[in-house]
Symmetry: none
Subunit: 208 residues, 4 copies
Amino acid sequence: MEKQVKQADVEKFMRLEQRKRNRILNAAMKEFRYGYKKASTDAIVKDAGISKGLLYHYFGSKEQLYAFLVRYVNDFITCGYFDMLNEGNADILEMFWQTALLKKDLIDQHPHWYDFSNGIYVHSSDAPAVQATLLAQEQQAAYDEFCARCDLSLFRDDIDAEKAISIIGVTMDDLINSECHDDYEQFLNTLRGYLDIFRTCFYKEVKD
Amino acid sequence: MEKQVKQADVEKFMRLEQRKRNRILNAAMKEFRYGYKKASTDAIVKDAGISKGLLYHYFGSKEQLYAFLVRYVNDFITCGYFDMLNEGNADILEMFWQTALLKKDLIDQHPHWYDFSNGIYVHSSDAPAVQATLLAQEQQAAYDEFCARCDLSLFRDDIDAEKAISIIGVTMDDLINSECHDDYEQFLNTLRGYLDIFRTCFYKEVKD
Amino acid sequence: MEKQVKQADVEKFMRLEQRKRNRILNAAMKEFRYGYKKASTDAIVKDAGISKGLLYHYFGSKEQLYAFLVRYVNDFITCGYFDMLNEGNADILEMFWQTALLKKDLIDQHPHWYDFSNGIYVHSSDAPAVQATLLAQEQQAAYDEFCARCDLSLFRDDIDAEKAISIIGVTMDDLINSECHDDYEQFLNTLRGYLDIFRTCFYKEVKD
Amino acid sequence: MEKQVKQADVEKFMRLEQRKRNRILNAAMKEFRYGYKKASTDAIVKDAGISKGLLYHYFGSKEQLYAFLVRYVNDFITCGYFDMLNEGNADILEMFWQTALLKKDLIDQHPHWYDFSNGIYVHSSDAPAVQATLLAQEQQAAYDEFCARCDLSLFRDDIDAEKAISIIGVTMDDLINSECHDDYEQFLNTLRGYLDIFRTCFYKEVKD
DNA sequence: GATGAATGAGGGTTCATTCAT
DNA sequence: AATGAATGAACCCTCATTCAT
């Protein structure tokens, strides 16, 4: 017997006036920032100032709400990436640096979205399993495009550039997820330190 | 008055015949692999083929059970590490290679323990707070010892060796966690590829 | 950090239509009549015809429910006493007579409330400790006021009036609790018999 | 479906050597002193130094054990009363005074038995309902015999002697149950105070 | 559209009782 | 006779979900 998916009307939610929509979005992401199970639908509706029924009218279930949020922030962030990518930066280290700056913007404008976004991975499979898979594919696609853009000729000839990119990627992820983000300047310094190492070790020596 | 810790008789559990003990251990770790809250004691006893009462006779509470498991796998793994460390290997890349082999063993012999072990950090935030802290200290100490052993003079002088070690560490973790482990030979090859990059890029050039 | 008291919304309960409110009140007091521990919340909701969740929505916990009931009956009864007291009767035997009539009313209209009310003291020791203390103080105050009203000069000079009042009190309580209450006239006769003894023996002789 | 009464072999228990028997008796009464439900069979066997199985071998169930204890102390105490009664004391006030002294003995020699004995009434219907009824009948019989012995001619002619005895009885009960028994001398003083009132008010004036 | 009172399955925990040894 | 590991029904409580208004 398959779990029946109840009615949901996300489109109606998207047609809401932006202020109300964001109030709900903020409340939900804030509550989900520590993982799926810890979030309480009661807390969400209370914080958003709407009724229980309305939340379920829009999203059908807690699970679908979570799925929606994951997709929403992902699209929102990806959107920013693409704008950046379209500016055609070919140096992958520079791209990661820009990415970090973008995150800074997100933190300032939508702190809860950022927390939530980080939490998705940190509390990964606390969430319904399906979710992770779907998102992973999407992120992989985005990341692939991200990589396709970058200029592999910058890398030393005696190493596997793809593996090198992989190393840079996981290091950046780890840095962003685990780092205490209270002091942003500190964070940028650390980040710069790592990027320097990569430039020194993985890139060809620049001859002047 | 502190939260009263109910009677628990872990020693009695340790005196169980190994087969039964492992059945319980497996069931519990399997159930906890997605985090503390998601795990159901009902599911554990059902899977282990014991009664609810017996589980609580041994461990007192879900929280104490979790604490025990965390410590158990940690000791189990640390044990292997220490044996290796005592062989006094100073090349950190060689140490990571050995570590990977050990983890591979763990995955093969106790897949659930391995999943659980990974989950401890991944789902850290939904576990009883105390646990994470205690373990973090211990692991930090173990890792520090691990690092203290290694010969930093192997690294290039123009990079921050600590950051370099960090990069190597997260890359190894990512590799072990994400890699599809069906084909062991394939895995070892990939692993070797990454270690080669690190040796080539982070270590001093060897002059012959 | 004190034991956290979970949300409770007793006001919402008080706003319920009287029939439903009394159905819950009756079920709860009936179930608690043999003490705190023996009462089962399952039995209460089943008897009241409501769901588990609703009971906890109103009262937060078994303990808070019990606390509410204790206060409720106490206020309910005290209310009646005070009306009587305000009529300013100074003869304590007359006051006990009135009290007995009031209790009789309570028994007829809310038998479970009466049983519960008696049980509070009888099974005091298995209730959450705080409760008993708070109520005891309040009841002591009410009883003190009750006694302060009464004219001690009616008592013989050669006996301790306070002890005499105590004797009258426990006798009345015993009478009301143990007497088979099927035949009200019979009960009143017995009661009158005892009051006569007290008047004859404890009061000064009336000279005409 | 009637609750099935499991096998019990109290006779075997009675045939135990006195030291072991008393160790069990003490442990059980001590644990039951706060009522039936609060007592834990685990605590009893631990305190008595016997196994769970043995306790159930002798008594069959917690309920039967409790029943046995109630009967046991009752018989033990009644036994003392009868010895006293056989000495043929006809003054009921004197009889109550002697009773109080007997209780003092019990307190000294078997403090737990005394606590348990008091608890039976204090925590009355916390226990299985049947118990109270059975005991009540027995106690009533004992009390009736107690009263039958007493010399009614001591009472004033203008009051109902039976009712007067009843008053004395409930006052004594209340005193014994509620009084803080830490200071025995204090208790005896209070007791004497009440007995004096009864003698002064209920008995005929003694002409010299 | 919008509400929030009401639901009940499921969770963690306890403990009297049983039974293989 | 004696043990104590093992059981499982029953307990208090939570919370995602529903539905009458």
